[in-house]
């Protein structure tokens, strides 16, 4: 066999691919499901926390900052392992899917809170003053005047961060979540061939590349807003 043939046989073996493609496809669904759930919950939670911080209740803000700091400073895998291995011994039993979802959501929420809060504080004070001068209450000013502007500022960094975190769904492999990588490594050890891994890599790239390109477009579109 020539070099090329051997390469193709190792990474693009048609027979192996055909056999394991369905399993990997299932993994794709799991990854998609997880990603959507994480992005929706994470950003919603982060946004809510950022809004709470706007009320400047000392103790509350303090707790939010502590939460955001801890979940941004710790490696996701560390948190996942602590929760996954620790909770059962403490009497709480959660599926690996739930553990992965919960941890990644909290991490995204922590980053989202900081990003959206930075957006809120970037909105010029004059906007608050103008809104309050017309009789709008604090919450009304926050919701109708400040937040829309803050979110626009937050979209580029938020998209980037969301992509980075959803690619971490691959970590689910370590605790047995049947995602793409898990299916691929299993298939690889059964077949003794690297094609499933190649397919997994391709699947991930196909899945996430559109979003990476989208975020690139969003950055250029919102760039003019940066003063």
């Amino acid at each position: 066999m020539t070099q090329l043939e051997r390469f193709l046989d190792t990474f693009f073996n048609a027979a192996v691919l055909e056999k394991y493609a369905p399993a990997i496809l299932q993994g794709v669904w799991v990854t998609i499901e997880l990603s959507i759930l994480i992005v929706l919950s994470g950003i919603a939670l982060g946004g809510a926390l950022a809004c709470l911080r706007a009320y400047r209740v000392r103790f509350l803000s303090f707790c939010i900052v502590i939460f955001a700091d801890i979940f941004r400073a710790l490696p996701p895998l560390v948190l996942i392992l602590i929760v996954y291995f620790g909770l059962p011994n403490a009497g709480i039993f959660l599926s690996s899917f739930v553990v992965l979802y919960a941890i990644l959501t909290l991490i995204l929420a922590a980053f989202a809170e900081e990003i959206i809060w930075a957006g809120i504080t970037s909105v010029p004070k004059g906007q608050w003053e103008a809104a309050r001068s017309t009789g709008l209450g604090f919450t009304q000013a926050l919701v109708w005047v400040v937040l829309p502007q803050a979110v626009r500022l937050a979209i580029p960094p938020l998209t980037n961060r969301a992509i980075a975190i959803t690619t971490m769904t691959a970590l689910g492999t370590v605790i047995g979540v049947p995602d793409i990588l898990n299916q691929a490594t299993t298939a690889q050890s059964f077949s003794g061939n690297a094609s499933p891994l190649m397919l997994a890599a391709v699947a991930y790239v196909l899945l996430f590349m559109p979003f990476v390109v989208l975020s690139r477009w969003l950055e250029s579109r919102f760039a003019w807003r940066k003063v």
Partner: protein
Amino acid sequence: MTEPRAAELAAAPVAPAKGRRLPALEVAALHKSYGDTQVLSGINLKVAPSELVFVLGPSGSGKSTMLRCCNRLEEPDSGEILLKGTRVTGPGVNLNQIRQRIGMVFQAFNLYPHLSALKNVALALRKVRGMSRAEAEARAIEALTQVGLADKAGNHPSALSGGQQQRVAIARALALEPEVMLFDEPTSALDPELVGDVLAVMRDMKSAGMTMLVVSHEMKFAQEAADRVIFMDGGHIIEQGPPEQIFGSPSHERTQAFLSRVTGG
């Protein structure tokens, strides 16, 4: 607030002094400091209904601070602000309600960039007055017509010139039908050729009988339109009187010095 003054106000919160009309806006014994700097040292001012009071002074004189205390964008350390006899300062005041009765126009316009001119004006009407969308937008169009910009209702602030933005800002304040309008250097951020349009709107408001308190450098406008001119410096009101008196024959040395500096002396 000193004890005698507090007792006075508690005894007669809304009773006007005998024989006089209730002032539209009253500033009483206003004090404010930032850290060690005393910005306002006992300001007393009464603005009569439909009066246009023009406030002059060097930067740091406290004129903007005084204006911003009137709708409590700044909190005075002591003293009182009264709107037609109703207290603006002090605890237990429904600030959001009071603010509907006081209109504020800012140097930086502060239009909401994510909303069209129409929605800028209609927002408070919908959220604070609880008007339906149709009612609010109708009233907003009226206000925009008053400032001559009904045709720009659908435009966003970024598509408007500075002068147009400021006029929309005025419409936004007018839409709530306030009793008093406060102007914080309304034309200072505008290119010279756009200033005229804004001043024209302000002149119209004066003719319509609006009570106005204006902090500005537009001397010509003061000479033509103001009922009273006040000169402030170092947190005090140094001198006040009709424009002819202040511009023509100011009595205080500081007033004279300021005027000669400013009018290209």
